[in-house]
């Protein structure tokens, strides 16, 4: 299955074909089915989310445009809602909002997790104790409960702000993991060298420690991204989603509110949930593939 170059008849003894670690990773990356499938699926959905609304023109997806409660047909690929809204239009706009909240929430959570995790893991001692307490407290409090309270009081809600608050509440598990990894890297020689040369904490963290964990951090971001999407969709579903626009979670909320289930309007509630499942599932699978690429031990199984 793998394509190996033919050795030339009088070539010198073959050396293992590894030039640089980056290239080797790439070599395995493009051959890993989980990674390929996962990334492709996410990319397709992202493309639909980005290009879809553009192709549909400037219309507001929540406008009443078509016949009410119509099943999917040639004009309305995903049918219409009780009010005659185009489900497909809502779907592609919703994908955008979903991706946006994933990126914002995931990025903010990742940044906080890195700051807390690196600092606690590298400094140790009292800093570690305090940050640990903080992490544990934020960890135990159920995120959705806090988000409920915060969002309920906000008059106007946007996707970005939703992402912000999700990021602020979902970092603890990642911080713990980063701290553990930093602990083990901190005792390595190259860190000692950097310390001897007088580098400050953050310099060492960002130049020595973080690059050695880059694959781990990336995988962490993917999980935070997916988690953000799931939390956001739950918030939307309860009715605390963005007050403007549409998201996949909001579609599910409308469908629920207007008895799509009882009326048999499957085209209203199946696509949005399927979209979320597809994105998150593809991310998880891609993550497993990435793990195999970065961890040679897993490859040979």
């Amino acid at each position: 299955m793998s394509t190996l170059p033919d050795p030339a008849p009088d070539a010198p003894p073959a050396e293992a074909p590894v030039d640089r670690p980056g290239r080797e990773s790439l070599h395995y990356a493009v051959r890993n089915p989980k990674l390929i499938i996962g990334v492709s699926l996410v990319a397709i959905l992202l493309a639909v989310g980005v290009i879809g609304p553009v192709l549909l023109g400037d219309g507001n997806p929540n406008e009443y445009v078509g016949p009410q409660a119509a099943a999917p047909d040639g004009t309305y690929w995903m049918g219409t809602t009780t009010f005659g809204q185009d489900v497909y239009a809502q779907f592609v706009h919703g994908l955008r909002a979903t991706f946006l909240v994933g990126v914002v929430g995931g990025a903010i959570a990742a940044v906080i997790a890195m700051l807390v995790g690196f600092l606690a893991g590298y400094r140790g001692g009292v800093t570690d104790e305090i940050l640990n307490m903080l992490t544990n407290v934020v960890l135990v409090i159920p995120a959705l409960a806090v988000l409920l309270i915060i969002n309920a009081y906000m008059g106007v809600r946007s996707v970005a702000v939703q992402g912000l608050f999700i990021g602020l509440t979902s970092w603890p598990w990642a911080a713990r993991a980063i701290r553990a990894q930093t602990f083990s890297l901190r005792t390595r020689e190259f860190v000692d060298l950097a310390r001897l040369s007088g580098s400050g904490t953050w310099r060492i963290v960002f130049r020595e420690i973080a690059p050695n964990m880059s694959s781990y951090l990336f995988m962490m971001f993917i999980l935070l991204f997916g988690g953000s999407i799931l939390i956001a969709s739950s918030l939307d579903f309860i009715g605390l989603g963005p007050t403007e626009g549409v998201s996949l979670g909001l579609m599910l909320q409308s469908a629920q509110q207007w008895s799509a289930l009882q009326l048999g309007m499957w085209w209203w509630f199946v696509p949005p949930g399927a979209g979320i499942t597809a994105i998150v599932g593809a991310l998880y699978v891609a993550n497993v593939g990435l793990d195999e690429v970065f961890n040679p031990k897993l490859r040979e199984s």
Binding site: P142, L144, S234, F237, G273, I276
Partner: protein
């Protein structure tokens, strides 16, 4: 071991204080005047009581007092079990409303969480041994765990409820049966319970199965497993050790997942109009009943803290190293 528990209790106490403080702070730092909003809403449904409500809320919120006094008042009320009066079901105290709904949520969550954990771990352990099983369990697991809880609830409700007609899709019980301990009611309640339970169970199951499978594989590749194999120990001994060791992180994992599981239960209840905390929260949001919402928040936080503590106790039992005073794994 004493230090282990002392530490945990400290964290939980701290968490509770933070949660209560956050609960108290948020309405005071949000734009707008929540009391007027509440009263305005009430004015529509209960015009006579509006003025009484306004003075009651002002009293309870204590807006005319200095902040620190308001804070202490809040704690005082909490300790007395006074969560305020619900607007949605005025004039029932919030505490009563929540306590009525609590059994339904617990009845849904506790079996779903425990069963999905046990069954999921068992499936995960099995699939780590058999490649054939692994090839189905793994994709199924990832699919399940990627599904939003409310979506699988809707799908199940649609497929097994609306279409097939095997199960009811709304409510905790039929309205034509008198609530009580009669066999008819219990059976009916169970009938209504199946689909919400199943949705919670299936999604959580996927996560545990995958986690356990990965942990078992990791343990089977560990040095102690290699050593025992080199000394000719039979696979069943190694598997027994691997399983025991793989369960430990799954126990701590359960504590970590509590927030997610609670969220899942809430949205599932909404889908099925199941009369638990989830539906209450929905009603509270739709009716701008902030007392009810805040009360629900505190109930959830207390519940999660208790659950965390119980899991910590279980962990001490399961990991023998914690009893020697040497840390086992959790911080």
């Amino acid at each position: 071991m004493r230090r282990y528990f002392a530490r945990k209790l400290l964290i939980y106490a701290l968490t509770f204080v933070v949660a209560v403080t956050v609960n108290w702070m948020i309405p005071r730092f949000m734009p707008g005047d929540p009391v007027s909003a509440m009263v305005a809403r009430a004015r529509v449904s209960q015009p006579e009581a509006a003025e009484a409500m306004r003075s009651y809320y002002n009293n309870l919120f204590g807006f005319d007092e200095p902040l620190w006094q308001q804070y202490l008042h809040f704690w005082g009320a909490l300790v007395r079990g006074d969560f305020g009066i619900s607007i949605f079901v005025f004039p029932t105290p919030v505490g009563d409303v929540l306590l009525d709904a609590l059994p339904y949520t617990l009845g849904l969550m506790i079996p779903a969480v425990l069963l999905s954990w046990f069954v999921g771990n068992w499936i995960g352990a099995l699939s780590a041994r058999r490649k054939v099983l692994d090839n189905t369990v793994l994709p199924a697991g990832y699919l399940l765990t990627a599904m939003p809880y409310m979506w699988i609830a809707v799908i199940l409700a649609w497929a097994l409820g609306a279409k097939a007609g095997w199960f009811p899709i709304s409510g905790g019980y039929s309205l034509d049966i008198q609530p009580g301990w009669s066999a008819a009611f219990v059976l009916d309640a169970l009938h209504h319970w199946v689909l919400p339970f199943l949705s919670l169970f299936l999604v959580a199951l996927g996560g545990w199965a995958i986690g356990m499978r990965n942990m078992i594989i990791y343990e089977l590749e560990s040095d102690y497993a290699s050593y025992l194999s080199a000394l000719g120990a039979p696979q069943r001994l190694i598997r027994r050790y691997a399983f025991r060791n793989a369960v430990l992180p799954q126990v701590t994992g359960l504590a970590l997942q509590l927030g997610v599981l609670v969220a899942g239960a809430l949205v599932t209840e909404i889908v099925f109009a199941y009369p638990g905390l989830g539906s209450l929260i929905l009603a509270a949001i739709q009716n701008q009943d902030f007392f009810l919402l805040q009360g629900a928040f505190l109930f959830i936080v207390i519940g999660v803290l208790i659950a965390n503590f119980l899991i910590d106790i279980v962990y001490v039992v399961v990991d023998p190293r914690t009893r020697t005073g040497m840390a086992g794994g959790t911080s």
